[in-house]
Amino acid sequence: MRLLMCPPDYYGIEYEINPWMSKGRQTDRQRAHRQWADLRQMLETRLSLKIDLVEPIAGLPDMVFSANAGVVWGLKFIASNFRHEVRRGEVPFCVEWFRRQGFEIVRLADELFFEGEGDLLRCGDVCFAGYHIRSDILAHQRVAEIIESEVLSLELTDHWFYHLDTCFCPLGAERALYYPPAFDQYAREVLQGHIAELIPVAAAEAQRFACNAIVAGNAIVMNDGCPETREKLQSLDFTVYETPLDEFIKAGGSAKCMVLTID
């Protein structure tokens, strides 16, 4: 498994585009850097994952959340169209990185908002996609055509859980963690109808970004302070690695937000 990350050199709270962000509650840059480096090291050494880096750009503080750059599907890179102007500057740099790696670049029409792996996660044969807060449902339809796969759109209703990867985490093909209140009733029914074992996460741990975990086989990396989820996962024979990421929660992100799956 190969992941793309972006060092947090320019990370900070420079604008407010989700309820977590407050310019009055700044990040500790050094601490953030240390937490990011610890996460990277854990992925490389403990999980033996290959990490690629895209160069951070001054003035683009959220570029550290590389999961939102787009979606990789085979040799295609479907670039994001951010809903918020402040994040659109990230796109050309990520596109350029994938172009240099030899990926075919796919751009959606400008009016179709789509925020990459933040809102599109695969579980078994099906891709689940979050919409209404950041990505548009019409973008999902286009993505479904491009990847020639079933994409089931799930309406997200809680702005604290604005991306699908903040409230849903596939664990292999038949299991997933999820935070039920983040979804509308139809979305919950869709998840219940398609995933054999759905593990609900309690509110307190969902707010610690328990669902924003990186899953590689039987290994899971997540923010610390989610004991209930950790025990549940351990009882299912997962190896859970916890690492503090609270500097990033200030911007509404955690472990999964900081990696984009390349293959």
Binding site: V126, L138, V151, S153, Y186, V190
Partner: protein, 414 residues
């Protein structure tokens, strides 16, 4: 009432997006109708649906459209596109890319408003009347130089008709032609539909061929006319000639219908009948002079039924009432067909197709013929709403008039 049509597609079934959108419409106080739905076969296949939304007001419709759009349902028309107009270059000539009409309800967009096209008719053009701002269909030969004609497809909206979801008994009938259908049920439904049309003061049109007289079915049609079930009659020279021959001589093509024997010199009867009517000045005059005292046309005159007789190249005579200029005949039929709500076509190919061409798709149309090809032809030429019954016209009309009589008695009893 405000209406709009939206399209939605994608993996809308498994994701419950379609039921969610439909629930939304209902919860916001409007009604929906699924006009068309296509469901993908494999998991990766997309599905699609076209939904009609009827909201109590334009404002509530706007709210609903904005809401369903968030879930991927988009209005079918591009609201900003206006219909394009070009002047007709000469009398009877349309601009090159004129919009060719269907028989479905149609709207055109002008000055940011949708205008309903009056008198939907297939294979015509759409003409704008600038003085009144109205739009109407215009057959090619009626276009006049300088008339403003709609060109291209932009700004034109056709309202599709629901075909598969039955809503009233009449719609249970499929338009498939079959000799194997249980006819009793169909005829009963036709009778009910005619009664409803009459009760709502809708006009009923009968189109009939001369076979109706040969088979001895005249008396049933007369009963229908006498009981107010016919307001308009379209036919050719033949039906009128045979009806009048029967009125004057008791024969049809020289055969006494009552006794089923051939009259001596009977083959001349229809010519003598034509001559007598020509002498009287026309059918109406012959009835008024007391020359014709019974029959279909006698009843038509007495009951004030409008009739149009359209000529053909093989006509004997013809009767003075027959319009021999086909374009003039078509125009006369067109005018009388307006406001018709129910059409019953029996034992005629030519007149059935000619009439089918003039009727909007919203007119309930029944075609009865012993030859299945007639009904097939009618549907194939665009009158898709036609219900076909393959049967001899006499037993059909006999049964129909019995049902209508029975219903009449029931309603009297009530």
């Amino acid at each position: 009432m405000a209406r709009s049509i939206v399209d939605i597609s994608g993996h809308i079934i498994d994701s419950l997006i379609l039921p969610k959108v439909l629930d939304l419409i209902i919860n916001l106080g409007a009604e929906f109708r699924i006009i068309d739905i296509h469901i993908g076969h494999r998991r990766a296949d997309r599905s699609s649906a076209r939904i009609q939304i009827d909201a109590p007001t334009q404002d509530s419709l706007e709210v609903i459209l904005a809401k369903v759009k968030e879930h991927g349902a988009l209005p079918v028309e591009t609201e900003d596109e206006a219909a394009r107009l070009e002047p007709a270059p000469a009398d009877g000539i349309l601009p090159d890319s004129f919009y060719a009409t269907t028989n479905l309800p149609t709207l055109i967009r002008l000055d940011e408003k949708w205008i309903e096209v009056e008198y939907p008719e297939m294979d015509c053009a759409i003409r704008l009347i600038p003085t009144s701002g109205r739009a109407e269909t215009v057959p090619m030969h009626r276009a006049r130089k300088g008339d403003l004609i709609v060109v291209g497809h932009g700004g034109v909206k056709v309202v599709p008709m629901e075909r598969h979801v039955p809503r009233e008994p009449f719609e249970f009938m499929s338009s498939a032609v079959s000799t194997e259908q249980p006819k009793g049920l169909l005829i009963r439904e036709i009778a009910e539909s005619m009664r409803r049309t009459r009760a709502e003061r809708g006009r009923i049109l009968v189109v009939a061929g001369p076979g109706l007289v040969h088979t001895g079915a005249s008396r049933h049609l007369i009963e229908l006319i006498e009981n107010g079930f016919v307001q308009v009659l379209f036919a050719g020279n033949g039906l009128a000639v045979h009806d009048i021959e029967n009125a004057l001589y008791g024969t049809s093509l020289g055969v006494y219908l009552e006794k089923n024997i051939r009259a001596s010199e009977g083959h001349e009867h229809h010519l003598r009948a034509i001559n007598a009517i020509r002498k009287a000045g026309g059918v109406r005059q012959a009835v008024e002079q007391g020359l014709v005292q019974r029959g279909i046309f006698y009843s038509c005159v007495k009951k004030g039924v409008d009739f149009v007789l359209a000529g053909s190249i093989r006509d004997d005579g013809p009767l003075p009432d027959v319009i021999t200029d086909t374009l003039k005949a078509q125009d006369a039929m067109r005018e009388k067909a307006r406001d018709v709500r129910f059409a019953l076509m029996m034992a005629t190919t030519l007149h059935a197709i000619a009439t089918g061409n003039l009727l909007p798709a919203t007119v309930k149309t029944v075609c009865v013929d012993i030859n299945p090809a007639v009904v097939t032809k009618l549907s194939d030429r665009g009158t898709f709403q036609a219900i076909g019954l393959v049967t001899d016209v006499e037993p059909f009309l006999r049964e129909l008039s019995q049902y209508l009589k029975r219903d009449e008695n029931t309603s009297d009893a009530l």
